[in-house]
């Protein structure tokens, strides 16, 4: 029933009252409680990552480590070639982000600025590919890439990004459509070519949308497990998720929980950093997609 109460302050927000409404107190308490529950696992992720091997097996789990085992964070680089995994993931994600930005921005611009013949048809087709489940196409793609001798290289994980992705194209198209036509008329008057207008007018004005796309593309590539599992076979080419997944394999009798948590914390670092840097743009960008 909290949903009912919550709609209230939408309206007369402009008329503040002295008395704090009970609805607000209830909402605040509910938020406090759920946030606590949401953050608790994360708290334990960090705290367990700093526990000794002995302490990680204690029940009940200790909130804070008795002795802080900072060495876990160096150990993992030795036991798991974590450095290699990290580097591989960064290379793949870096190229994927670059490819996605480049291609999606070009395609979105084409859809947004030129009312060419077939615009609607292709755009609807593009949107419908969002519903295409990856598993439905993965076998022929695998056959295709193995014929090209791309197995056990990064290429199958990078190259498709250079052909645009539907969701990001959609997001950018919505953004490009809001840019005023006058800007481009002025550019045309100055003898600007079409590609140059894209680069010098549209792109600089779209920083928030581009930042959002970059974050989406990074998160997608960084977290992806299925594709690297399919295409990478030698362990020095593994990405972070593949290496981490191997941690739960049966070669350990008891899973090394403290190291699993170190891996999880380290895997989060780039995403959180990116989010912290681009948060404002990111939220703005999501608002753009969310509305329609």
């Amino acid at each position: 029933m909290s949903t009912v109460k919550a709609t209230r302050p939408l309206g007369p927000a402009s008329r503040p009252r002295r008395r704090i409404k009970p609805v607000k107190i209830a909402s605040f308490t509910a938020l406090l409680l759920t946030t606590f529950l949401m953050l608790l696992p994360l708290f334990f992720m960090v705290s367990t990552s700093l526990k000794s091997k002995r302490e990680m097996l204690k029940f009940p789990p200790t909130f804070l480590p008795e002795s802080w085992a900072w060495s876990n964070y160096t150990d993992i680089f030795e036991t798991l070639q974590f450095g290699t995994l990290y580097k591989n993931s960064l290379i793949i994600a870096g190229f994927s982000v670059f490819g996605t930005l480049l291609s999606s921005a070009l395609v979105a611009y084409g859809f947004a600025r030129y009312r060419g013949r077939g615009n609607n048809f292709w755009f609807i087709l593009l949107l419908s590919t969002m519903m295409l489940p990856y598993p439905a196409i993965m076998i022929p793609q695998f056959v295709l890439f193995s014929k090209m001798q791309w197995i056990d290289t990064f290429l199958p994980l990078i190259v498709p990004a250079f052909f645009g992705s539907a969701y990001n194209i959609f997001l950018l198209r919505q953004f490009f459509s809001t840019l005023p036509e006058e800007l481009f008329d002025a550019g045309r008057m100055d003898g600007c070519g079409e590609l140059r207008m894209w680069r010098t007018i549209a792109l600089p004005l779209s920083a928030p949308a581009l930042a959002t796309v970059a974050i989406f593309a990074f998160i997608y590539s960084w977290n992806d497990l299925l594709t690297p599992v399919l295409y990478l076979s030698s362990s020095d080419k593994f990405t972070l998720p593949v290496g981490m997944a191997s941690l739960t394999s049966s070669r350990f009798r008891i899973p090394p929980w403290h190291l699993l948590m170190v891996a999880s914390v380290l895997a989060m670092v780039p995403i959180v950093t990116l989010f912290a840097i681009a948060q404002k743009q990111f939220v703005e960008g999501i608002v753009l997609t969310g509305i329609k």
Partner: protein, 299 residues
């Protein structure tokens, strides 16, 4: 007349120039794979040797295969609980956070934070949380005097454990709902307020219709995502115990890349594709009556 024609030609030319990366990608990475997977689905194919045409055999086998039906029930069970609850949670959080409250920014970030841990890291974390001896979940249950089960090791609870875990990322939906709520004009709500409408009526008759496009988008995307659960099954349970988390895509992956039956697996892929299209079509059809778009036009 001539000028107009050349202008439309120019527009068409530049449109195709700019969208050509996607057009090429669509042909290579979508259309060609879909069609060849349709062909493979009628063959016996191990990826190494050329495919042998065997007609409908893969499809008939599928419908007699116990593991196929298991994967269907597991996936549907997960979907029908996880997707609606995630939507409700996301909407609930968004409504709470749409008010002017202290620490709003903190709450918003905190709720969204878990969504940044998706994938293998999240699976590893919850693998520990659900550990019956030392995990957080049973420890917290013990505060209330409940003796928790062995979650991931128990066929009766493993799927529910994964469902519970999925609620943790409801924050990503919340962000979209918040964006939607910001698009609801305050004037409409004030007007209704003046007319004496209660909170519940305002929510039902104004807020909900205004954010229905966001709801629809999330419902469809949520369904498609949950039909494709793979990481959790791969990292946490390997489809077990006793096939209780034998998700559809895990089944598909195993038949193609562990049993080298790419033909059979392609048949699975095509059934997935058809089911996704059917679900989407039915939801779109039903939603026509309920989803409101500004200006009254449907898109």
């Amino acid at each position: 007349m001539f000028v107009i024609k050349s202008e439309s030609r120019r527009q068409t030319f530049y449109m195709y120039l700019f969208i050509s990366p996607w057009l090429v990608g669509f042909l290579i990475f979508a259309l060609y794979p879909i069609l060849s997977s349709l062909y493979y689905s009628f063959t016996d194919y191990d990826i190494i040797h050329p495919p042998q045409f065997i007609g409908l055999a893969n499809y008939t086998e599928m419908f007699h295969n116990e593991l196929f039906w298991r994967s269907v029930t597991v996936t549907l069970r997960y979907t029908f609980i996880s997707v609606p609850v995630q939507l409700l949670l996301g909407l609930g959080f968004a409504l709470l956070l749409h008010q002017t409250l202290p620490w709003r920014g903190f709450f918003r970030t905190a709720m969204y934070f878990p969504s940044m841990v998706s994938g293998v890291a999240m699976s590893l974390l919850w693998y520990w949380i659900f550990n019956p001896q030392i995990g957080l979940f049973n420890y917290m249950l013990s505060w209330f005097g409940i003796h928790g089960p062995a979650w991931l090791m128990n066929p009766d609870t493993a799927l529910y454990a994964l469902i519970i875990m999925s609620f943790w990322t409801a924050g990503s939906g919340m962000i979209l709902f918040l964006a939607g709520l910001q698009g609801v004009p305050a004037s409409l709500i004030e007007a209704a307020n003046l007319d004496g409408a209660g909170r519940f009526r305002i929510f039902l008759n104004i807020t909900l219709p205004m954010i229905s496009p966001v709801l629809l988008f999330q419902l469809i995307m949520g369904l498609i995502d949950s039909f494709q659960v793979f990481t959790q099954a791969f990292v946490m349970t390997q489809g077990g115990p006793n096939y209780s988390t034998w998700f559809y895509v895990y089944n598909l992956y195993t038949s193609a890349f562990k049993e080298y039956r790419a033909g059979y697996s392609s048949a699975l892929a095509w059934v997935l594709l058809i089911v996704v299209m059917l679900f989407t079509a039915v939801i779109m059809r039903l939603s026509r009556r309920y989803v409101h778009y500004e200006g009254g036009s449907r898109r």
